[in-house]
Every structure is written in structure tokens, then in C-alpha cells.
Symmetry: C2
Subunit: 387 residues, 2 copies
């Protein structure tokens, strides 16, 4: 029995002072039901994913009430910035076990409710708080600056190389009407932006974002019964962890948990080499260096050679493996608890052939991939979807 | 393929200023592995349940590192005071789907890290924060006072009746070496205790508790392979929700979601009438009124007649259906994110025949039940376990 995706929805991402949290959730839910395949009464269970930028300490029940899904059961899933993927994995298991036919996964974060310094501190607390954040004062740009520095030292990459990731992702963000930044940036704009945590500059960072995304995970029988016209199947979800604290790390040029999760996902999907098989991927580009690490951890390039993919334009449409054609976390935005679901929504759109003009990948093998990291790798999920 | 419980562990509950959060988690983990059936390398995935009384905003990854379970994947599950049951349901589905052989579910809350007034405010935020807590200033004792008042009005119950629940649960708490309050209380002590939110008195309330609990959910094949000597099987888990805000309620003498969850669980387990079938139960007695409501929502008594069960001593050992022989939330304590797991641990001990002298139920049919509520019913889980 296969497990697939019956419906998707996503809100506009950005600084959404125009809506409250409930209306922000509803923007995604409304799209899900407006696709016309599924009704609220078809839903068996709701998984809500959010790290908790809200004074509601147990938000799942409140959202469930607001969107009108009582008396269906609900709980919240949290795995820092990988919460969305952990929630989808939960729903996948509920359907695969036969306990549910259709599970709605709803992810939301309204990060601009807090003032920016607080949001940055909040994000840092998704790292190793007691040890590294409180005692040493590190922030997320600080964490990734360590990786970028080491990568530059080991492989001779330059700050320009990483800015090329920002240029690519803003190029596609400019073509995505849901993206936070719908404008292109040049290499010069990125290079001239101020340092946040050297060598990471402002344009190397993903923004603070308000947004929601939703998806319905369904059994093959249910998908047939509902008459879903272009079902997308979940072929594999690989997951792994690693120490949260950086003192437990042996490498700063790879996220080992992502490498393990990818290995499991490829094995489950029967993929030996993703190049030539994966038509399109979304990867966790919370910082530009993170996208380059993802290329290598996912086997798109050998260690030290990920930077060549962006230098050679191989992750644009027309290249070896197009990546983040929605703008990525970098330009589309990164509402942390919703991000993993937004990645799935994007791959489903791509595999269905529904992405906007200028950002639709050619779909040859019908295979897509998502790569979602929480914290600095203490959570990692890699998924393979197939049309 | 059945799904069962390979191993259990629980910390001492109470005001645990003698340990930090990590050592509190380890007390349960250590018991799990010391049972001798399972080793860390057998674990495929970790589900961490906690509502978040901690400055670590994404604690799952940190605990996973501390207890030495990298690179196994982990995420956090939260459903207010029903987080533990939602976590077990997640693990149950992972095993039943065939994606995992053994899943460790670890629940923890260290509520005394916050000063008591803050803990009470924190707890209130597990209700409907924006609407009822912030705007109207309600607290959890306030929520349940509404239920107790209405129950007294409709059915002629008295404050003494509810104090009888406290007397029973403290009687058993006094016989449980892990309980927060290992001492009996008399009806007079309860009746003379001060009002917290009239008619709820101090001794009608469960305490603020530090504690952890852990359980390993495994496939039937794995349980055989590991040589578990007294496996306990999960026959059914029923779940449901209802509006978080009380303005959406039609009854204050029942938690409708619990009634629905129980109906589903009984149907799945093929139980028509729990009396004479269920040997022992743990129910969510966050307040004494909540235990009486549970009797009725679970079908142990008809509406309005739950109070007779406690008046007649029918929920003591030797009665129709013994309830909360570990002291319940009332005397054992209520570390909110760990409570659902602690309930399972207790039922497993009872069905194995391993409870301490004076609090072991006679096991005739080999059937146990747990009833776990989150918030004021926006989360509800009822489970049936069988030896």
C-alpha cells in the first residue's frame, strides 16, 4: 500500500502584519480544500508543526478549533527547523499503519510577532541552549559561520561562491508569487552587504518569516477514492540525528545526520546516484553555506566539489539538478515550523507541473527530493517523492 | 502484527531540586535498559514528549545527545497534558507501519525550575490563551471549578464526595515509592484545606511535579527476538478533540472528546462494557472532579452516577474497577509532558503483577486502560492494554 499526497496549500510568506496567526493558518487550509479533492470530514487526524513563536504554549488544539476540525484528534510535532518533515513522517506512519486514511499536516510560524532581536535569540535557543547559547552567546549565523570558514579553508572556496547561491535563490524567488523576497539580487549586492557573523553577510542569511503550509497525506485507496488527478507518492523518508552541541562534532564541512538520512532515503527508494534521477530538489538553505553542504551531503557532488555546482550553474533549471526553484529558505522565506511542509508543497507543484513560468523544472524521471535540517543537524530528514 | 511494550522506566516524582533535567531523564532511561531486554543499539527512533518548561526551545535533540542515542532520529510531541499519549500513539504507528522495530518514548517535565506562580501561569497557557487566559484571567483550577460546580448542581454531589477521590489516591500514593506524596490524607484534611478556586480546594488539585517516564514500543517480532518475558500488548488507542475554549462547550459534566476516544478504543478492542473486563485503569485526575468525569466518560458509570463509585469504594482494589493505584496525578504527581507515559508504565506494572504490595490489582482478564486528557479536552487519548 503506497502513501501519497492528496492535496497541498501554502500561504504567502513574508512579514504578515496584515493577518493574525489563525488567518495565516487558514490561508493554507483554504487552498487544501479548494483543490477540490478532499473535504474536512475526510480528515482523520491533524498534525500541527510549529516550534512555538507564540504565547499559546499548546497551540495545536487552538488551531484545530479555529479551522473547524473538531472532533478530529490533533497533536503538535516539533523538531526545530525540521518540524515540518517530522510532522509529515508522523502522518506517513499513521497512514502506512492503516490507522488513518487521510492526515492533514499543518505547519505555521509567525516569527514577526516578536521583535527581531528576540526572534534571533529565540532561533539561537533552537541550538544547544544551556551549553553553547547561554554560556557562549552563539547565534545561528555564528554556528554556520564556523562551517563556512572551515569550508573556505579546506577547499579554497570564496565568499563570492556562496553569494552565487543567494543570487540563484533570489532569481527564483522573484518568480514565486508566494515568496517573501520577490526580487533578484546581484553578486555585488550580496558581496557589499554587511557582515552578520563573518564570513556570513546579510545576503547569506534566510530571513525571519511569517507563513504557513499544509498537506494531506493519504493512503493509495483513499487517493483513488477521492479522485486525486495527479497523485504524488512518498517513496522514502530517511531520518537521523547527531549531537546538538558543536563540541561533539568531528566535521565542519558536512552535516553527518543529513548524509545518513540521505543514505537511508536513497536505499529505500532504490536510488544509487541522484544525478540523472532526481528532477528537482529543495534543500535547507538557512544560510548559503548550508546549500553547498547539502549538495555534498546528498551526493549531488563529492566532498569539496559542491561549490562547483553553483559556480557552473548546475543547480539552475537546465543544469544537472535544479535546486530551490521556489527561492528556497533564502528568498521564499523560512517560517521555521512550516518549512518542511513548504518544501513538500513545492516538490508536489514541480512534479505536477504546476510551478509558475520561469521556475518549473523539466520533469523527466518524475522524482523529487526534500532535505530538511533542524538545529545544526540534531534533526535531519530526506524525502523522495515520485509522480 | 501486534504492537507491544518491551520495556518501561520511571523516575521518582516530586520536587527534584537534587537533579538537573538531563539526570532526571536518565533515571527513566536507565530503568528501561536495566530491565535487560533492550539495548540502545536496538532503538530505531526516539519520541520525546514535553510541553516545554525549559529555556531549551527544542529539547528533543539535546536529550537525545545526552542519553547517547545519536545518530537515531528524534522529534518532540506536544499535546499539553496528553503529550505522553500522543507520543506513544506516534511510536505505535511507526512500529505498526513497519518503519521501526523499537521506538523509545521519553517524557519529561521539570516544572519546579519555574517558581510556582509562573508554573501556574504556564499551565494556564495550555488552555485557550488568547481568549480565556489572557483576556479573562482563568487558570486551570478555575476551568475545573466550573465543571465541579455544574456537576454538584446537576447531580447533588457534595465537596465531600470529591475529597473521597483525594483520600483514595493518597492512600495508594502512600504505597508507591515513586510518588510525590507518599502519605495518606483524611477526609477532614481535604475538607479543611483552603479554596484555590471555589469549590476546588488545595487537596482537590494535583501538584506541580518534576519527573520523567520512558517506554519502548516494539513489534511482535522484535519482542520475541528480544526475549521480553511478560510482553504487554497495545490493543487499541482511541483519540479525539474538542474546542479548547469553553465558549464552544455544550456540557460541563462530561469531556466529550474523552467519551469519543473511549468509544473508539472499546470498539477497536472489542469491549462492550468495561466493568468486569478492565482489571485496572489510570485516569486523568488533574483535579478530583476530573476523576469522577472520567468514570462516566469511560462508561464505568452512567451520567451522574460516577460519584457513587467513589462513595461506595468501587474504585479501590476489591471494587468493581480499581483506578489510579499509583496515586494518580493527585498523589503520584503530574509532570505534564511525562504523565501519559507514566500512566502506561503503571498499567504495564499492574498487568505484569509487579506493583508494590498493597497497590497491586488482581489481574483476571489481563486488561488495563489509560485515560489521558490534554488542556480541558482539546486532546484526549484512551488506550487498552492486554497481557
Amino acid at each position: 500500500m503506497r502513501v501519497g499526497i492528496a492535496s497541498i496549500g501554502i500561504s504567502r510568506f513574508g512579514r504578515r502584519n496584515d493577518v493574525n496567526v489563525f488567518d495565516l493558518a487558514f490561508e493554507s487550509i483554504e487552498e487544501v480544500f479548494n483543490e477540490g479533492f478532499i473535504s474536512p470530514e475526510d480528515i482523520d487526524y491533524i498534525v500541527f508543526t510549529s516550534t512555538g513563536f507564540t504565547p499559546e504554549f499548546s497551540p495545536a488544539g487552538i488551531y484545530n478549533e479555529y479551522v473547524g476540525l473538531n472532533p478530529k484528534a490533533v497533536h503538535r510535532v516539533e523538531a526545530a527547523c525540521a518540524s515540518g518533515s517530522a510532522g509529515i513522517y508522523t502522518a506517513y506512519n499513521m497512514v502506512k499503519s492503516g490507522m488513518a486514511d487521510n492526515v492533514l499536516v499543518l505547519g505555521l510560524e509567525k516569527m514577526n510577532e516578536l521583535e527581531t532581536p528576540s526572534a534571533v535569540e529565540y532561533l539561537a535557543r533552537l541550538g544547544s541552549y544551556f551549553w553553547e547559547v547561554r554560556d557562549y552567546g552563539i547565534t545561528f549565523p555564528g554556528y554556520y559561520a564556523l562551517f563556512m570558514t572551515r569550508y573556505m579553508y579546506e577547499y579554497g572556496a570564496t565568499e563570492e561562491d556562496f553569494c552565487l547561491v543567494a543570487v540563484k535563490n533570489h532569481y527564483y524567488g522573484a518568480r514565486n508569487p508566494k515568496a517573501q523576497y520577490q526580487r533578484e539580487v546581484t553578486l555585488e549586492m550580496c558581496m557589499e552587504s554587511r557582515y552578520i557573523s563573518r564570513p556570513i553577510k546579510l545576503y547569506d542569511c534566510s530571513p525571519i518569516t511569517d507563513g504557513s503550509a499544509a498537506i494531506v497525506i493519504s493512503s493509495e485507496d483513499s487517493i483513488k477514492r477521492l479522485g486525486v488527478d495527479t497523485p504524488i507518492w512518498i517513496e522514502a523518508i530517511g531520518s537521523a540525528s547527531m549531537p546538538a552541541s558543536l563540541t561533539g562534532r568531528t566535521s565542519f564541512t558536512s552535516i553527518e545526520s543529513a548524509r545518513l538520512a540521505a543514505g537511508k532515503a536513497y536505499q529505500m527508494a532504490g536510488i544509487e546516484d541522484p544525478i540523472g534521477v532526481v528532477d528537482v530538489a529543495t534543500v535547507h538553505d538557512c544560510f548559503t553555506i548550508a546549500e553547498v553542504l547539502a549538495y555534498e551531503d546528498l551526493g549531488f557532488a563529492k566532498p569539496g566539489e559542491g561549490v562547483n555546482l553553483i559556480r557552473d550553474g548546475e543547480t539552475y533549471i537546465g543544469g544537472k539538478i535544479p535546486v530551490n526553484l521556489d527561492g528556497g529558505l533564502k528568498a521564499k522565506g523560512h517560517p521555521v515550523g512550516a518549512t518542511g511542509i513548504a518544501m513538500y508543497v513545492e516538490i508536489v507543484k514541480q512534479l505536477r507541473g504546476e510551478a509558475e513560468r520561469g521556475r518549473q523544472a523539466p520533469i523527466k524521471k518524475g522524482v523529487g527530493l526534500t532535505h530538511n535540517i533542524g538545529g545544526i543537524g540534531q534533526y535531519a530528514y530526506v524525502s523522495i517523492l515520485r509522480r
